[in-house]
Amino acid sequence: MSGRLWVVGAAAFLAAALLTGALVGPVHIGLGAALESVGARLPFLHIDTPLTQTQESILWDIRLPRVVLGALVGAMLAVAGASYQGVFRNPLADPYLLGVAAGAGLGATIALVYLPNGVDFQKVLPPAAFLGGAVAVAAAYAIGRSAGRGSGGATLVLAGVTVASFFTAVQTFVQQQHSDTLQQVYAWILGRLPSSGWTDVKILLPYAAVATAGILLHRRLLDVLSVGDEEAASLGVNVGRVRLVVVLCATVGTAAAVAVSGLIGFVGIIVPHAIRLVAGPSYRLLLPLSVLFGAGFLVLADVIARTALSPAELPIGVVTAFFGAPFFAVVLRTSRRMASL
C-alpha cells in the first residue's frame, strides 16, 4: 500500500476515534446533534445547536477536552517512542528510556507528599512532574556523555537505566515514608486522563506541537541513521547532532505528556512496532503514522477505560496493555514483513 493511502487511512481512523470518544458516555449525544453543535460554533454557518445547555457543557467542557488530551498524549508517546527506537537503534527503547518516567514520578510524589493540604494538586502536579523528568534526563545525558563518546548511544541508554533506578528508589522511599498518600501516588503512576476542562490541553499543546514538528522534520535523517553511526557519518551526517536534537524533542514532549497524564505505558512501544510490521520501517512514513495511530489508539483506550467499569474508571495504562498486547500479538503473527529497525 502506498504511503499516501496509509496516511489517509490513519487520519480516518483518528477521526473515527475522536468521534467515538466524543459520543460515548452516560449522557446520550447523537452524531448529527454533535456535528450541528460543532457547526454552531463555526462562523458564517448560522446553525443553531440542538443540544440542551447541559449537553453542550458535557460535550464541550468534559468530553472534548479529554478526547483531545488523549489524542495529544497518544500521538506524543507514540512518535517519541518511534524516534527513540530510531536514534538508539534499539527495538526496546520507549519514551521513558532516559529516566523521564522515574524523574516525573519522583517530582509528582514529592509534590503530593510535601506540599501542604489545600494546594490545588491539579495545578501543581504537572510542573512538578515535568521538572522531575527534565532533571532525570539531564542527569542521564550528563553521565552518558562523560562516560563515553561515539558508542552509538549505548552508554546513554545505560546512563538512563542507572538514573531511572536511582530516582525510582528515592521515589519508593519517600512514598513508603508517607503511606497516607500511597493511593494518590499509585493512581498517578498508573496513568489517567483527567477531566479538568481545557487546562491540561493548553499546558501540553505547545510542547507536543513543537516536539512533534521537530521530530517529523528529522524523519529522512532517521532513515539515514538506520545504517549505523559510522556509515551515516560517511554519508555526511552529523550523527551526534541529529541524535541530540531528536532526543531533546522526544524527551521534552514526553515529559509534558507524562506531567498531565501520568505514566501510560505500552503506547510508545506497541504503536510504532505495529506500524513497522504492516507499513515497513521507513521513518518517513513511520513517524507521521505514529502520530495519527498513537492519537487514535489512546482515545479509544480511554473510551474503554471510562465505560468498562462505569461509573468507576479503569486506569488507562491497564487498558492500553490489556487490549494492546493481544492486538500486537495478532499483528506479529499475521505479518509477513520482518520486524526491523
Partner: protein, 254 residues
C-alpha cells in the same frame, strides 16, 4: 594533481599509533590496494581518508586538505563500502540506494528529482532495476554487495574506498564484484583505494599494492614487486609459493 595524497599520516587509537607516518599518493583513475596482516592498520587508514577518525599529518583530496572540508563536502568526494555494511532488513533496495544522495540533500530537506534520477541510474548500472522494490533482508550475498556499490555510485564521489569488498562472497561472486568495480572505475573515471586479504585477487586488480605491517608501509609497487615469498613470510608469517608473480598459493609446512 593526485586524487588522494597522504603525508606522514598518523592515527592514534587508545594511545597507540594504529597508523604511523604513512605517506602515499593515488593518481586519478588509479586502483591502489592495501594489503597486510590483521591489525596492520588498513581499515583505520581507510577510515582516516573518509574523515571518520581524527588523524595527524596531512591528507589531501584533489589538492584540498581533508581537515578543511566539511562532512558533507567529504561525502561528495569519498564513498565508502564498509566491510560489513549495516543493512536494515525491511528497507527496500531503492530506499537504500537513495541514501547515497544524503550529502546532496540539505539538513531538513528532501531528495530532489535529480537525486531520484541519480539513484535510478545507479540501480540500472548495477542491474538492480528489477530488485528496486525488494527488501534488503531478502537479497543474496552478491545482490547485497551490488546494492552497497549502487549506494556508493549514487554518491557520485570520485574516490571509492573499499574495505574487504569480497570477504563475504563465493569465488564467482568475488570475481563478478571486482570486475564490476573495475568497469565502474573505467567508465566513471573513479579512483579506487581498497583493502584486501586475498592476495591473488589484490594483485590481479590493483595497479599498485601497498604492504602495511605494524602501522607502517613496508613495501609498495607493482603487484609482482610486493607479492614475493620473503615479504609475505616476514609480514604475514605465512608459507606461500608465488606462481607467475601473481598467484599466491599457501603451502602446508612439512
Amino acid at each position: 594533481m593526485s586524487a588522494l595524497a597522504l603525508e606522514q599520516v598518523t592515527v592514534e587509537l587508545g594511545g597507540r599509533a594504529v597508523v604511523d607516518g604513512v605517506s602515499l599518493a593515488v593518481e586519478p583513475g588509479e586502483w591502489v590496494t592495501l594489503i597486510g596482516p590483521n591489525g596492520a592498520g588498513k581499515t583505520t587508514l581507510l577510515r582516516a581518508v573518509a574523515g571518520l577518525v581524527g588523524h595527524g599529518g596531512r591528507i589531501t583530496l584533489d589538492g584540498q586538505g581533508l581537515s578543511q572540508l566539511g562532512r558533507r563536502e567529504v561525502a561528495r568526494r569519498v564513498a565508502v563500502v564498509p566491510q560489513v555494511p549495516l543493512m536494515p532488513t525491511g528497507m527496500t533496495v531503492h530506499e537504500y540506494v537513495l541514501l547515497g544522495r544524503t550529502p546532496y540533500v540539505s539538513y531538513l530537506g528532501r531528495e530532489s528529482r535529480r537525486d531520484v534520477t541519480a539513484a535510478g541510474q545507479a540501480l540500472a548500472r548495477l542491474d538492480l532495476g528489477d530488485l528496486a522494490g525488494r527488501q534488503l533482508g531478502t537479497l543474496s550475498g552478491g545482490e547485497r554487495q551490488r546494492a552497497v556499490l549502487a549506494r556508493a555510485l549514487a554518491q557520485e564521489a570520485s574516490l571509492l574506498l573499499l574495505d574487504e569488498p569480497t570477504s563475504a562472497l563465493d569465488a564467482g561472486r568475488q570475481q563478478e564484484a571486482l570486475e564490476l568495480i573495475d568497469a565502474l572505475r573505467l567508465d566513471a573515471g573513479l579512483t579506487v583505494l581498497a583493502a584486501m586479504h586475498d592476495l591473488t585477487l589484490a594483485g590481479q586488480y590493483a595497479s599498485r599494492l601497498l604492504l602495511l605491517s605494524n602501522a607502517r608501509i613496508v613495501a609498495q609497487g607493482a603487484p609482482a614487486e610486493v607479492l614475493t615469498e620473503p615479504l609475505i613470510a616476514e609480514h604475514y608469517g605465512a608459507r606461500v609459493r608465488v606462481l607467475d608473480g601473481l598467484a599466491v598459493v599457501p603451502v602446508r609446512p612439512l
